[in-house]
């Protein structure tokens, strides 16, 4: 459903972030991308929904080349790709349910989106999704009053509200404590498995990547250096990705 073919990215300041990246993702797969900071993980994510335009190569989502899409086409592509951020990126002064409803904006006419007019059906679905991520009691709470883990679950609900076939998660648990990290990852995996949504997750924590993913892609200095099942990710391979000996990696991610 997603093919990334020979993608390269050079930023305007001349820094090369990605060198000839290629991988495929099949429908329903839960794929983690791991690698050191600055390896290009975030750039890959943002290339897929064109928040960052790529320099060369092809990104094909459901048979359509994302890089060549027109503005209107891009809107239609983006609304089928949910995105979850390290810093949640919610509108903190609005309630949880309002933030979830933002997931529908891509389907609305500009005017009704501007005025925030949602159908009863959409509102009901928003409450249902909040229930699904265990936040039914917080639907009317303002988002700046929620904990980090709760904010991220609102983020998940907002992404699901888009009826996506793919969800991109950019370091979804990097700002969370271990307990909330586990909650968020569990909700993310269970909900996406249940609905059959493909999930592509950037992660710093190797253990979590191994525990939750169907497949792991290791990225180093803008290149794919590992692509395989979690079982194949031995200490040696981890060391290769992170440029350190296996013991040190264990400590770093603990």
């Amino acid at each position: 459903m997603l093919q990334v073919k020979n993608v390269s990215k050079t930023y305007e300041n001349g820094r090369k972030a990605l060198y000839d990246i290629s991988f495929d993702v099949s429908p329903g797969e839960f794929v983690s991308i791991i690698g050191p900071s600055g390896a290009g993980k975030s750039t890959i994510m943002r290339g897929i929904n064109q928040l960052i335009p790529i320099t060369s190569g092809e990104i094909v989502f459901d048979g359509q080349n994302v890089a060549l899409a027109s503005k209107a086409e891009l809107r239609r592509i983006r609304r089928r790709i949910g995105m979850i951020f390290q810093h949640y990126n919610l509108v903190y002064r609005l309630t949880a349910v309002e933030n979830v409803l933002h997931g529908r904006l891509g389907y609305k006419s500009t005017l009704s989106g501007v005025l925030g007019r949602y159908t009863e059906q959409e509102k009901e679905e928003a409450f249902l999704l909040l229930q699904k991520v265990g936040l039914e009691d917080f639907a009317y709470a303002r988002c700046d009053q929620l904990s980090g883990g709760q904010k991220q679950r609102v983020g998940i609900a907002r992404a699901l509200m888009q009826h996506p076939s793919l969800i991109l998660c950019d370091e979804p648990i990097a700002s969370l404590d271990p307990q909330s990290s586990e909650t968020v990852m569990t909700y993310l995996r269970d909900v996406t498995k249940q609905i059959g949504i493909t999930c592509l997750v950037n992660l710093h924590q190797v253990e979590i990547a191994i525990a939750y993913s169907d497949r792991i892609i290791g990225v180093k200095e803008g290149r794919v250096v590992f692509d395989g099942a979690p079982g194949e990710l031995t200490g040696e391979r981890i060391a290769e990705i992170y440029h350190a000996n296996p013991q040190a990696v264990g400590e770093e991610t603990a």
């Binding site: 928040l51 904006l105 907002r158």
Partner: protein
């Protein structure tokens, strides 16, 4: 090594102190300013102030008139500031780094804001005086222009700071530009914008007095009138009322700020 740093610190402190003293000495020598004479005249001046400017019984006669002009001035400032805020928000959205449409528009918005902001209020009032003559509208325009410049700049910075993540997230959902602005950016920054607006209104009520002096309207005109007739006690009453109003406004806007945050 660390000792060196401390020695360097105290040396540079000493240098700054000496430089400040030298600057003071040179400049007061040039303009022939004598601190001794200036300081010794303060007690006398205070006595004079108390004797002449303290409100007296006859000021009561003018109270209704003072009130009328005071209310007029406050309302004019509020009106000018609010309309300026509407235009400022528009230009700020178009010109902010985060939400701006394109580079020329961003540059244009910044130039406009900086032009209106950097011309002092009094200069605006005097320029406009020539074409609009002495009336309330001149004061309104002067306050409108400076507030517009100042608020555009503040709004732009607020949007730049607060809205980045929201814009990214809503763009990723497939939302259109106007949807992102109205559903994401404005809710995100609204309380800060209102806070800026309240600050600007406070400021403008104070400044409106000064503008009124020049444009012959509002409470400033009244002060000028009594002052030039040597009715210092009534002028003093006017001043007291202005101070009272400004303090009340500040208390009120602090209360509103606490409520909306």
């Amino acid at each position: 090594m660390s000792k060196d740093i401390f020695a360097k610190r105290s040396r540079s402190m000493l240098m700054i102190l000496l430089l400040a003293i030298a600057l003071y000495a040179v400049s007061s020598l040039i303009v022939n300013f004598k601190a001794g004479t200036a300081l010794s005249s303060i007690p006398m001046a205070c006595v004079w102030l108390v004797k002449n400017f303290l409100p007296s019984a006859r000021a009561i006669k003018y109270l209704p008139y003072i009130f009328e002009k005071l209310v007029q001035t406050i309302l004019m400032s509020v009106a000018a500031t609010s309309t300026a805020a509407v235009f400022a928000l528009l230009v700020a959205v178009l010109g902010s780094r985060a939400t701006g449409i394109n580079k020329p528009m961003k540059a244009f918005a910044r130039i406009i804001a900086s032009f209106f902001r950097n011309l002092p209020l009094v200069a605006w009032a005097m320029i406009l005086l020539l074409s609009f003559k002495q009336n309330e509208f001149t004061g309104y325009l002067a306050i409108f222009f400076t507030s517009f410049g100042y608020l555009t700049r503040s709004f732009m910075e607020t949007i730049d700071e607060a809205a980045g993540g929201t814009i990214e997230a809503l763009t990723a959902t497939g939302a259109s530009y106007f949807q992102i602005i109205f559903q994401g950016v404005i809710p995100m920054v609204s309380s800060q914008l209102i806070s800026w607006l309240l600050y600007m209104i406070e400021n403008n009520v104070r400044d409106a007095t000064l503008v009124g002096l020049l444009t012959g309207a509002g409470i400033g005109f009244l002060f000028d009138l009594f002052y030039k007739r040597f009715m210092y006690d009534v002028a003093g009453t006017v001043t007291l009322f202005i101070v009272a109003v400004v303090i009340c406004l500040e208390l009120l806007s602090n209360k509103i700020r606490r409520m909306i945050l």
